[in-house]
C-alpha cells in the first residue's frame, strides 16, 4: 500500500497498519509513504505500467473514473453488499465520489474536509468589524484591513488549487450547484454559463482591490506559508481546507488553543441562487484495490478495509487532530473533544449541506483539471478575462 507522508496522518496510518499486522500475521500490509504532489504522478505512472500497489489511495472522482474505465481497479459493489455493516458505518454521501456508472470502485476513509473561511479574531477585534456575511462585507473588509496595513486574505496562489477554492464557492453561491453539475456531466457550453463569467469577474474585482496578500502567486500551500500569514497576523482571513485547522493548531504557537482562530461559512452573494449552507471540499479520501493484484493480495486488502482502517483508535486520532471522520455515530466523541466548536461546525456542514461539491480538480478528468488549474492561475493574474477563461475551459468539455 502507498500512502501520503506528512503529519498527523502518517503516524495515524502507521499505527493502524502496525495494529492490523500484529493481529493478522498472514495478511501483512506493507506501507510506503510519498509526498502528495509526487504521489499523484507516481501512482498514475505505476498503474499505467501495471506496477500499482494492491491498495490504491486516491480522491475518487475523475481520477478514479480513469482507472475504472481502464479496468485497473476492482469493482467493490457486491463485496459491500455482502458487508452491509461496513457500508453503513460511513456517511452515505461519502460514496458519491467513489461511484462510477452506478458501481462502487473505492472505499471511503479518513475524514470529510470542507473548505472553510478562517479569520484572525484578534485582528477583527482590533478593527472593530464582524466576519463577512455577504460579498459587500468582503469588499468593505478588504478596504478596512488594507487601511490597517494588514493583508485581507492569505492565499497560496502558486499551488493553484488554493485559488480554485474561491471559484468553487463563488460559482455555487452565484449560480447554484447545477452549473458545475452540467460542467461535470460535460453538457455542451456548460462553462459559458453567465454565472461562470460573473464568478471570474468577482475574482478579478477582489484581486484588483488588493484583496489577496502581496505576492500571493509565489506562495505555495505545501510550505504552509499561507497558514503562517494568518496566525502571525499578517493576513486577516483565509479560505482553506478544514485540514489546516490541525496544522495551525500544531504550528501556530497557541493561536488556535487561545481561541484566536475564527471560522465561518462562505458568504452569500446578492441575487445568487446557491444555498449558503452548501459546502465544497473533499467528501473523504478513498482506497481502491488494484485489479492486477493476486487473489491472495486482494483478500488481504479486503480484510484490511474491514478491520484495519477507521478502527476506534484511528477515529480518535483523527478527532484529536481536529478532523471529522466520515463514520456515523461520532457526535458524542465530537462533543467531548477540546476542539468541539470547530468539529461540530465541520460536522454540521458535512451532514446538513443540501449540496456538498467535491473539489473540482478531483471531480474532473485529469486532462480537464490540469487545464482548469492553468486557466485559474491566469485568471488570478488578470492575464485572461473572465470571458476568455470561460471559453478556454469550454474547449475542455468532454476531454
Amino acid at each position: 500500500m502507498w500512502y501520503l507522508s506528512g503529519e498527523p496522518n502518517q503516524t495515524t496510518m502507521q499505527k493502524a497498519v502496525d495494529a492490523f499486522n500484529s493481529a493478522n500475521s498472514a495478511d501483512k500490509i506493507n506501507v510506503t509513504y510519498f509526498q502528495n504532489d509526487a504521489y499523484k504522478t507516481k501512482i498514475k505512472t505505476a498503474i499505467g505500467a501495471n506496477q500499482a500497489p494492491t491498495i490504491i489511495y486516491g480522491w475518487g472522482g475523475g481520477g478514479l473514473k480513469t482507472y475504472a474505465e481502464a479496468n485497473q481497479v476492482e469493482d467493490l459493489t457486491s463485496w459491500l453488499e455482502q458487508n452491509q455493516d461496513l457500508k453503513k458505518k460511513f456517511f452515505p454521501s461519502s460514496f458519491g465520489a467513489a461511484t462510477i456508472n452506478g458501481k462502487i470502485y473505492a472505499l471511503p476513509n479518513q475524514y470529510v474536509a470542507p473548505i472553510v473561511l478562517f479569520y484572525n479574531k484578534e485582528l477583527f477585534q482590533k478593527a472593530g468589524v464582524q466576519p463577512p456575511k455577504s460579498w459587500e462585507d468582503i469588499m468593505s473588509l478588504v478596504k478596512t484591513f488594507n487601511g490597517m496595513g494588514v493583508a485581507p486574505f492569505s492565499l497560496g496562489g502558486q499551488s493553484r488549487w488554493t485559488s480554485m477554492m474561491w471559484l468553487e464557492y463563488l460559482l455555487d453561491r452565484i449560480g447554484g450547484p447545477e452549473v458545475f453539475k452540467a460542467i461535470f456531466e460535460g453538457k455542451p457550453n456548460a462553462w459559458m454559463d453567465p454565472a461562470v463569467i460573473e464568478t471570474g469577474t468577482k475574482v478579478q474585482e477582489l484581486v484588483s482591490a488588493d484583496g489577496f496578500i502581496k505576492g500571493f502567486s509565489s506562495i505555495t500551500a505545501d510550505s504552509q506559508a499561507d497558514q503562517a500569514l494568518l496566525f502571525s497576523g499578517k493576513a486577516a482571513m483565509m479560505l482553506h481546507g478544514s485540514w489546516t485547522y490541525g496544522a495551525m493548531k500544531k504550528a501556530g504557537q497557541n493561536f488556535v488553543q487561545n481561541g484566536k482562530l475564527g471560522f465561518v461559512p462562505f458568504p452569500t452573494i446578492a441575487g445568487g441562487k446557491g444555498d449558503p449552507k452548501n459546502g465544497v471540499g473533499n467528501p473523504a479520501a478513498y482506497m481502491s484495490i488494484s485489479s492486477k493484484a493476486s487473489d491472495k493480495e486482494k483478500e488481504s486488502a479486503k480484510k484490511f478495509f474491514k478491520d484495519g482502517i477507521l478502527t476506534e483508535t484511528v477515529i480518535d486520532a483523527y478527532i484529536n487532530s481536529g478532523s471529522v471522520p466520515i463514520v456515523n455515530g461520532i457526535e458524542d466523541k465530537l462533543n467531548t473533544s477540546e476542539d468541539r466548536e470547530f468539529l461540530n461546525f465541520v460536522y454540521d456542514m458535512a451532514k446538513n449541506a443540501p449540496n456538498f461539491q467535491q473539489s473540482w480538480d478531483q471531480a474532473l478528468s485529469p486532462t480537464a483539471a490540469e487545464a482548469l488549474l492553468n486557466n485559474i492561475d491566469q485568471l488570478f493574474l488578470k492575464s485572461i478575462t473572465p470571458q476568455q477563461f470561460a471559453e478556454n475551459m469550454n474547449g475542455t468539455l468532454g476531454k
Binding site: T41, K44, T45, I47, G48, T66, Y67, E69, A70, Q72, G157, Q158, R160, I213, K214, G215, F216, S217, S218, I219, T220, S223, A225, A228, L229, K234, S365, P366, T367, A369, E370, A371, N374, D377, Q378, L381, S383
Partner: protein, 311 residues
C-alpha cells in the same frame, strides 16, 4: 654501418606495427558493442517509441489507440506551443549571453596564479555540487516575499514578488540557471586556458602586448573550440532545463516560465495526454539535433586540425 644494422629491424617492426593496428582496429570495433548496445536501448528505442506514441492517443493508463496526425495538428495549432518555444529560445539566448562572458572571465582568472586564487575558485565551484532541486527550493525560500531574505535582513528592495510577476519570474529563472551552471563552464574554460602554451604569452610580452591585448589576440582565438564546446552544452542543455524551473515556478505564474520541456511533462503526466506530449518530445529532439549540428559547423571543417602549428 650502425645505420644499416638498425634500419632493417625498424622496417620489419613497422610492418608488424601496421598489422597490429589493423588487428587493434578490429578489436576496437568489438569494443564499441557495449556502447552501441546502450545507445540502442536507452536512446534509439525510446526515441522510436516516442515517435510512435506521437501518432496515438493514450492517457498513460488505459489502452493505446491510433490517432493519426490528430496530435500533431492539435499541438501545432495550440498557441501554448509557440509560447513555450519562444520562452525556450529566449531563455537559451539570454542564458548564453549571460553565462559565456562570466564563465570565460572566471575561467581565465582561475587558470592563473594569483594570490587566493585557489580559495576563490573553490567558492566559485560550490553551486556545481548542489542538485537543481535543492537550489530551487533554497532560492524559493530565500525569495519568499513575506518570510524570505528581505524580511530577515530588512532589505525592502528585495521584497519583490519574485516568483509572482511574470517578467520577474523569468528573469529570476535565468539568474538561478546562470548561478548554477556558470561554475561548470568556468571549469571547462579553466582547462582550455591551461592548455595554451606559455611561450605564446612570452612572445607577446616581448612584442609589448598588454594583458588585454594578450586576452583578445591569444587567449580568445586559442579558446575557439572550448567556446564552441561550452556553447553547445549550454544551448542544447537549455532545451532540457526542467527540474530547476519545475520546482522553482512550476511554469508559472500563468504560463510565463512554461518552457518546452516543462510543457511536455505537464501535458503528459499532469493532463494525461501522452500523444501531444510525445509530439513535443519529438519537436525537442529535432531542435536539439539541429542546434548541435549548426554549432558543430561553426567550428569549421578543420576540426581535427591543430591550433598549435608552428610551435
Amino acid at each position: 654501418m650502425s645505420n644499416a644494422i638498425s634500419t632493417a629491424p625498424r622496417a620489419t617492426a613497422r610492418i608488424k606495427e601496421s598489422r597490429q593496428t589493423e588487428q587493434r582496429k578490429a578489436a576496437l570495433a568489438w569494443l564499441t558493442l557495449p556502447a552501441l548496445f546502450f545507445f540502442l536501448v536507452f536512446a534509439v528505442i525510446p526515441l522510436a517509441g516516442v515517435l510512435i506514441l506521437s501518432f496515438t492517443s493514450w492517457d498513460g493508463i488505459g489502452a493505446i489507440g491510433a490517432a493519426g496526425l490528430d496530435n500533431w495538428f492539435s499541438v501545432l495549432a495550440d498557441p501554448g506551443l509557440y509560447n513555450a518555444l519562444g520562452l525556450t529560445f529566449l531563455i537559451m539566448i539570454v542564458s548564453w549571453l549571460v553565462q559565456t562572458p562570466i564563465s570565460l572571465l572566471l575561467g581565465v582568472f582561475t587558470a592563473g596564479s594569483q594570490r587566493y586564487r585557489a580559495a576563490l575558485a573553490v567558492l566559485y565551484f560550490l553551486p556545481l555540487l548542489l542538485s537543481s532541486a535543492a537550489v530551487a527550493i533554497a532560492f524559493k525560500a530565500l525569495l519568499d516575499p513575506n518570510f524570505g531574505l528581505a524580511t530577515g535582513l530588512g532589505l525592502p528592495f528585495l521584497a519583490q514578488d519574485w516568483l509572482g510577476v511574470p517578467h520577474l519570474a523569468l528573469g529570476l529563472v535565468i539568474f538561478v540557471i546562470a548561478w548554477q551552471f556558470v561554475p561548470f563552464h568556468t571549469l571547462i574554460y579553466q582547462g582550455g586556458v591551461r592548455q595554451i602554451p606559455k611561450s605564446l604569452y612570452e612572445a607577446a610580452q616581448i612584442d609589448g602586448a598588454g594583458t588585454i591585448k594578450q586576452f583578445f589576440h591569444i587567449t580568445l582565438p586559442q579558446l575557439k573550440y572550448t567556446i564552441i564546446t561550452s556553447s553547445t552544452l549550454m544551448v542544447v542543455g537549455s532545451l532540457t532545463y526542467f527540474d530547476l524551473i519545475f520546482v522553482l515556478t512550476g511554469g508559472g505564474p500563468g504560463n510565463s516560465t512554461r518552457i518546452l520541456a516543462l510543457d511536455m511533462y505537464l501535458r503528459g503526466f499532469r493532463a494525461n495526454l501522452m500523444g501531444p506530449a510525445s509530439v513535443i518530445a519529438v519537436i525537442l529532439v529535432i531542435i536539439g539535433l539541429a542546434l548541435a549540428l549548426f554549432l558543430q559547423r561553426l567550428g569549421g571543417k578543420d576540426k581535427q586540425g591543430s591550433q598549435l602549428e608552428g610551435l
